[in-house]
């Protein structure tokens, strides 16, 4: 689905005191492949290049070196841009700054409208998308009446209305409270499972990474870790070196393991923790 090879991205930084611009490298030779239908999460400290990386996936940024292939299309080629953007939909961090319509319906219509689809088709797409994200009742509502989670779902609907094969989201839950975060995440997982849409999610919430199929970690413009959440969270020392923490339950299991209790490494969910705990408790035969 997505194939990135040796991607390099630089920009010129002009020092505030004046003088010659300095060439800074944001992405330093990134290569990765994301197969169809995968739910991939990208983690990394601020400034590590993750936002820059995902903006290459739908041609918003052009590579200085290397290639980005989306379903075989070259995202760097001017002629392919329209088809690349049909294939890859994108949702950003600030819910308000991606909504243009005066009503939910109007905003959802934007993508199909600029693609010149016939009105009947646009109507159909909007019906489908709003139903999927759960905003059918709010068709005529002004976006500023929606909650933060509602606005992000609207943004997802707007992207979904263009029937993309892949959704890329740049920290969509950063400005949301935990309830809204859960709303958005379960929607994304549903889109991934039921519609087979590939999801690439940039986030700094470890719980979201724990539920992914695959986790990539960026640091200083390179991918430094790439594997399943199990592989990733099994090495808390490496994570700490990258200024990332682990979900609370994982940390508890790690601490207990260090004290000699045989928890598997890592423990990623409450359910897993409880099951393993009960097994260990039974083995000891004490607490029950």
């Amino acid at each position: 689905m997505i194939r990135v090879s040796d991607l390099v991205h630089r920009y010129r930084e002009y020092p505030s005191g004046g003088g010659e611009p300095v060439l800074k490298t944001v992405l330093d030779g990134v290569s990765l492949e994301i197969p169809d239908g995968q739910f991939a999460v990208i983690l990394g400290p601020n400034g590590s290049g993750k936002s820059t990386l995902v903006r290459h996936l739908n041609g918003l940024l052009r590579a200085d070196e290397g290639t980005v292939l989306i379903d075989g299309l070259d995202a760097g080629a001017e002629e392919a841009l329209k088809r690349v953007r049909d294939c890859v939909g994108m949702v950003f961090q600030n819910p308000d700054n991606q909504i243009i319509g005066a009503t939910v319906e109007e905003d959802c219509a934007f993508g199909p409208e600029v693609r010149g689809l016939p009105s009947a088709e646009i109507g159909r797409r909007i019906d489908e998308s709003l139903k999927t994200v759960g905003l059918s009742e709010q068709r005529g509502v002004s976006p500023d009446r929606l909650s933060g989670g509602g606005k992000q779902r609207l943004a997802i609907a707007g992207a979904a209305a263009c029937l993309p094969r892949c959704l890329v989201l740049d920290e969509p839950t950063a400005m949301l409270d935990p309830a809204a975060r859960g709303e958005v995440l379960s929607l994304l997982h549903r889109l991934n499972r039921e519609l087979g849409i590939t999801v690439v999610l940039v986030t700094h919430h470890m719980e979201e990474a724990a539920q992914a199929d695959r986790v990539l970690v960026t640091e200083r413009g390179r991918i430094v870790l790439d594997g399943s959440p199990e592989q990733l969270f099994a090495d808390p020392a490496a994570l700490r070196a990258l200024h990332l923490d682990v979900p609370a339950i994982t940390a508890v299991a790690d601490a207990l393991r260090e004290q000699g209790f045989a928890f598997s490494s890592p423990v990623l969910s409450q359910r897993q923790f409880v099951e393993e705990f009960l097994r260990l408790a039974q083995a000891v035969g004490g607490a029950l």
């Binding site: 505030s16 400290p45 601020n46 400034g47 909650s147 933060g148 950063a174 400005m175 409270d177 935990p178 309830a179 809204a180 700094h204 919430h205 470890m206 200024h243 990332l244 923490d245 979900p247 609370a248 339950i249 940390a251 508890v252 601490a255 207990l256 260090e258 004290q259 000699g260 209790f261 409450q270 923790f273 409880v274 705990f277 009960l278 260990l280 408790a281 000891v284 004490g286 607490a287 029950l288």
Partner: protein, 285 residues
């Protein structure tokens, strides 16, 4: 003597009839680190705005050192200086040319001379670990996390007795969030300032606060240490805020038959409770 007291305050906006706050009563004493939790729309931000006089209650009183802030002749500017309110994403307010100028903005507005203001600003910046060469940088050049610390310093420069923060860690990721929370606690430990903060992270509230206020639909439902409040897991979920993950895990274990009389709310506490349950820590791997 309490610094601040909310005495049965209620509030509704002029255009609407339904109250946003109902009969809220609590107090803030020196050196306390108080948490405020509640689902979206429960009135948290509205309550914060009453603490520094931005809003006046429609009923009830706000008392500052025992004085009714609503009485004729009370100078609200005194309240603004002593109760420093930091809104969400405070870095969006930064607008001066240098960090020092911006942080001095508050004291200058309140009447300090430029020397006094600069001195207060330097103190505040030092407290937020932004001393020295940060002074003359443009605020827009700082990293996101640094900008936030600078914005908080801007309020600290007024030397408030109470620091009120609306979701200070909003938008911050894992370690940056922990760093900020630890910083705030250290601030309280070193200067004795009282802190009241809003947070959506039950983990942070359990870990860092002495006392937890829970707001739901405008009413104050709980005012007690977090260890106590989080025992009521079903109630917390019904309100819409939940409990820390470790508490929830312990509750599940208790439901499956384990003997856990008191649910742990902090990570370290949970580790030792769980270790004891499994028959004491066995050392040696």
């Amino acid at each position: 003597m309490n610094i601040l007291e909310a005495d049965h305050i209620s509030f509704s906006y002029p255009e609407s009839v339904s109250p946003v706050l109902r009969e809220i009563t609590f107090s803030v004493s020196p050196g306390e680190l108080i948490g405020l939790a509640g689902p979206s729309g429960s009135g948290k931000t509205t309550l914060l705005k009453h603490l520094n006089g931005l809003l006046r209650p429609t009923r009830g009183r706000i008392l500052f050192h025992g004085e009714d802030t609503g009485r004729r002749g009370f100078r609200i500017s005194a309240l603004r200086r002593r109760v420093g309110l930091v809104f969400q994403y405070p870095e969006q307010q930064l607008f001066k040319k240098t960090v020092l100028e911006d942080v001095s903005f508050g004291p200058v507005n309140l009447g300090d001379s430029s020397e006094e203001a600069a001195a207060a600003a330097r103190e505040a910046l030092a407290l937020m670990n932004l001393g020295g060469e940060y002074e003359n940088r443009s605020p827009l050049e700082l990293s996101g996390g640094e900008m936030r610390l600078a914005a908080i310093a801007g309020v600290l420069a007024m030397r408030p007795e109470v620091l009120v923060l609306d979701e200070p860690a909003a938008g911050l990721g894992g370690l940056a969030k922990t760093r900020l929370m630890k910083h705030l606690r250290r601030l309280r430990d070193e200067t004795g300032i009282a802190i009241l903060l809003v947070s959506h992270s039950m983990e942070d509230l359990a870990e860092y606060t002495d006392r937890l206020l829970v707001l739901s639909e405008g009413a104050l439902l709980y005012d007690a240490p977090p260890a106590q409040v989080f025992q009521e897991t079903d109630r917390m979920r019904a309100i819409g805020i939940g409990v820390p993950t470790v508490t929830s895990a312990a509750e599940e274990l208790r439901r499956r038959g384990l003997d856990i009389p008191v649910l742990p709310v902090r990570t370290e506490q949970a580790v030792s409770s769980f270790a004891d349950l499994l028959g004491g820590g066995r050392h040696g791997k």
